[in-house]
C-alpha cells in the first residue's frame, strides 16, 4: 500500500479531489444527495460538466454513477419515494428548486412508476437527453422514432422534419445504413444500430447535454467502436456525460473522468491525469484493476 511514487495529499478524507474544468460549464451538480426512501445513495456529490466535452463516470458496481446520471435529468422523480437535495445548475438555473420543479413534481405514492409534472419540467428534460443501457427503440418506424421527441414540442412541416431526421441520423452515424428504409420498423435493426437510433432520437431535440448510461455494454466490440467514434464527433455540438464500467473506453474517449465509490465522488480530473497519476489510493486501486 505504501507506494510513495505519488505523494498522498493530506486532506479531509471525505472531500473529493477535484480539478475543476477550466472552460464554461453547461451543467453542474453541487453537493448532491440522493435518497431511495430512507436510504441514501449519493453523498454531497459535485459534478462539473464542461461544455462540448465528454465527461466519464467510472467506479465499481453500486458506487452511484448511474444514480448520479439519472439524477441529472430528474428522471428519478417519476418514481415515488426517490428524491434529491442539493443543486443542479443548468445554465445557471437550479433544476431542483426552480419553480417548475417544485409542487406537483413528486410522484404520488402508489403510482406504479412514472408521472411527469408539467410542461416546464418536460421541456427541461428535453434539454438533457438520455440514452439507456439497453437499446430501446420505440415500436414505430425509424423516421418516427427520431421525430418523436421533436413532435412533442413543435409542429414542423414535412420538409423541415425530413431535414431534422436526416441531420440527426447523420450525426449518429446511422444515416447511410438506414436512408433507404426510414419507414421500416426501428425494431428491425441490429443492436448497435438500435443504440445509434436511440442516440439520434435523443439528439433530434438538440439537448444541451446528452447522458449515456453504459450505452455500449449490450453491444459487440465492432458496434461499440462505432458508437464511441460517434460520441467523439458529437462532442462538437453537444456536451456528453457517459457512465461506463469499461475503463479503456473511458480512457479512450473522455476529456474528464470522475471516479466514484460508495456514493461519493472520490476524484474528478482530466482523464489523462486521473488514469496516469491518480491521487487517491482508491482511484489507483480501481484503475489498475485491483478491485471492482
Amino acid at each position: 500500500m505504501n507506494d510513495v511514487a505519488t505523494p498522498i495529499v493530506t486532506r479531509d478524507p471525505e472531500a473529493p479531489i477535484m480539478v475543476r474544468p477550466t472552460g464554461d460549464l453547461v451543467l453542474e451538480a453541487r453537493q448532491l444527495d440522493f435518497f431511495y426512501g430512507k436510504s441514501q445513495s449519493l453523498y454531497g456529490v459535485d459534478l462539473p460538466i464542461e461544455r462540448n466535452k465528454i465527461t466519464a463516470l467510472i467506479g465499481p458496481s453500486g458506487c452511484g454513477k448511474s444514480t448520479l446520471l439519472r439524477t441529472l435529468n430528474k428522471i428519478y422523480d417519476l418514481y415515488p419515494g426517490q428524491n434529491a437535495t442539493g443543486r443542479i445548475l443548468l445554465d445557471g438555473k437550479d433544476l431542483l428548486t426552480d419553480r417548475a420543479s417544485v409542487g406537483r413534481l413528486k410522484a404520488r405514492d402508489g403510482d406504479v412508476a412514472l408521472e411527469p409534472a408539467n410542461l416546464d419540467t418536460s421541456a427541461l428534460r428535453a434539454r438533457i437527453g438520455m440514452v439507456f443501457q439497453k437499446p430501446t427503440p420505440f415500436p414505430m418506424s425509424i423516421y418516427d422514432n427520431v421525430a418523436f421527441g421533436v413532435r412533442l414540442y413543435f409542429k414542423k412541416s414535412k420538409a423541415e422534419m425530413d431535414q431534422i431526421v436526416e441531420r440527426s441520423l447523420r450525426r449518429a452515424a446511422l444515416w447511410d445504413e438506414v436512408k433507404d428504409k426510414l419507414n421500416s420498423s426501428g425494431l428491425g435493426l441490429s443492436g448497435g444500430q438500435q443504440q445509434r437510433l436511440c442516440v439520434a432520437r435523443g439528439i433530434a431535440v438538440e439537448p444541451e447535454v446528452l447522458l449515456l448510461d453504459e450505452p455500449a455494454s449490450a453491444l459487440d466490440p465492432v458496434s461499440t467502436a462505432k458508437l464511441e467514434e460517434t460520441l467523439m464527433e458529437l462532442r462538437d455540438d453537444f456536451s456528453i456525460v457517459i457512465v461506463t464500467h469499461n475503463l479503456q473506453q473511458a480512457a479512450r474517449i473522455s476529456d474528464y473522468t470522475g471516479f466514484m465509490f460508495l456514493g461519493r465522488m472520490i476524484e474528478f480530473r482530466p482523464t489523462a491525469e486521473l488514469f496516469e497519476r491518480p491521487q487517491s489510493t482508491r482511484t489507483r486501486d480501481y484503475v489498475t484493476g485491483r478491485f471492482g
Binding site: 410542461l119 418536460s122 421541456a123 413532435r151 412533442l152 414540442y153 413543435f154 438538440e206 439537448p207 444541451e208
Partner: protein, 323 residues
C-alpha cells in the same frame, strides 16, 4: 441556417404538443380509472341484484330455504336443498373423476412425453378446454346418455339380483342416462383440460435443479413426481383443485342437458337431480310468479357465494405459490 430547437433562455413554444397537455393527461388517467371502477361496480352490481332479487324468498322461507327440498310452484313453496345438494354432489364427483386424470395428463406431458409431441398434445388438450359447454351438453345428451343407459345401466338393472343391496340401491334409476352420475362425468370432461393446463404450468415452475437432484439420488420417476414434484407445488395443486371445483359449480349448459332436472334429493347415483344452474336455466324464463322468480334468484345468490368462496381460496393458494 436552421434555428436551434431550444433557446437557452426561454422555454420552447407551447405549440400543440400532442397529448402533452396536463388536461389530456388527466382525462386519460381518469378514463382508465373509471374503467377499472366500472369493473368493480359491475361485480358489485351482480351481488347486489342477486341479493335484492332473492330477498323475498329468504324473507319468506327463512333458514328453511336451505333445508327444504320442496319445490312446488303451485303451492308457492320453494326449498333450495335439492339443487344445492345436486350442485355439490355433481361438482365433487366431477372433481374426483377429473383430478387423477388431470394429474396424469400433466405429469405425462411434463415428465414422460417425448418433446416433439408434447406440445401438440398440450395444445390439443387446451382445445378441449375451449369447446363451449353447449357442445358438451349436446354430446352428453345424444351420445353419452344413450351409451350409458345401454351399456351401464341396463346390464346393472338386469343383473340386480346378483348385486349386493347397497350397490343396487346406489345404481337404481331410470335407464335413460340422464342422471347425477353422467352429469358428473360430463363436468369432469369439461374441467379436466382446464385443470391439467394449470397444473402443467405449475409443474413447469419447479426449478430444474430440484428435479435433477432427486433423479441424481437414483429415484424413479414415480418417486420424483410423487415425493418431490407434487409436494413442491402442494399449495398451488390445492389451488388447481379448487379452480376446477369452482368451474364445475357454475357450469350450466353441459349439466342441464343431462341431469334429468328433477327437484328434490336424488336417491341414488343414477337418479336424476338438478343443480342450481340447471334449475335457473330451465325455469327462469317461464317462472310462474314473483315468488318463483325470487326463489330462483335466491338460488343464484347461493351459487355465487359458493363459487366466490371456492375461487377466492383457489386464487390465494395459487398466488402464494407463485413466489
Amino acid at each position: 441556417m436552421t434555428a436551434t430547437m431550444m433557446d437557452s433562455d426561454t422555454a420552447p413554444p407551447r405549440e400543440t404538443a400532442p397529448g402533452q397537455s396536463e388536461l389530456s393527461e388527466t382525462i386519460f388517467r381518469g378514463l382508465c380509472f373509471g374503467a377499472a371502477t366500472l369493473l368493480l361496480a359491475a361485480l358489485a352490481g351482480v351481488v347486489i341484484s342477486l341479493a335484492i332479487g332473492g330477498w323475498p324468498a329468504f324473507k319468506q322461507f327463512g333458514f328453511g330455504f336451505f333445508t327444504s327440498s320442496a319445490w312446488d310452484p303451485v303451492q308457492e313453496n320453494y326449498g333450495a336443498a335439492g339443487p344445492i345438494v345436486g350442485t355439490i354432489v355433481t361438482s365433487v364427483l366431477a372433481l374426483i373423476i377429473a383430478l387423477p386424470l388431470a394429474t396424469g395428463v400433466s405429469v405425462f406431458l411434463v415428465e414422460f412425453c417425448p418433446r416433439n409431441i408434447a406440445k401438440p398434445i398440450a395444445v390439443a388438450v387446451e382445445l378441449l378446454a375451449g369447446i363451449p359447454s353447449i357442445v358438451y351438453g349436446m354430446w352428453g345428451l345424444f351420445v353419452l346418455a344413450p351409451w350409458f343407459a345401454i351399456h351401464v345401466q341396463l346390464p346393472l338393472m338386469t343383473d340386480s339380483a346378483n348385486l349386493p343391496s347397497w350397490l343396487s340401491a346406489l345404481v337404481a334409476g331410470i335407464p335413460n342416462g340422464a342422471n347425477i352420475f353422467t352429469a358428473s362425468l360430463i363436468l369432469a370432461i369439461m374441467i379436466l383440460p382446464y385443470m391439467s393446463a394449470v397444473f402443467r404450468e405449475l409443474l413447469l415452475t419447479i426449478p430444474a435443479q430440484v428435479r435433477e437432484a432427486a433423479y441424481g439420488l437414483g429415484s424413479t420417476n414415480f418417486e420424483v413426481v410423487s415425493k418431490v414434484m407434487i409436494p413442491y407445488v402442494r399449495r398451488g395443486a390445492v389451488g388447481v383443485v379448487m379452480l376446477g371445483l369452482g368451474r364445475a359449480l357454475g357450469e350450466t349448459m353441459a349439466v342441464t342437458f343431462i341431469i334429468g332436472n328433477s327437484h328434490g334429493f336424488p336417491h341414488s347415483l343414477f337418479d336424476s337431480g338438478s343443480t342450481i344452474a340447471s334449475t335457473i336455466a330451465n325455469e327462469f324464463a317461464e317462472a310462474t310468479s314473483d315468488m318463483h322468480t325470487a326463489a330462483l334468484i335466491a338460488l343464484g345468490l347461493v351459487l355465487f357465494i359458493l363459487t366466490f368462496a371456492v375461487l377466492a381460496v383457489a386464487r390465494l393458494l395459487l398466488a402464494s405459490e407463485k413466489h
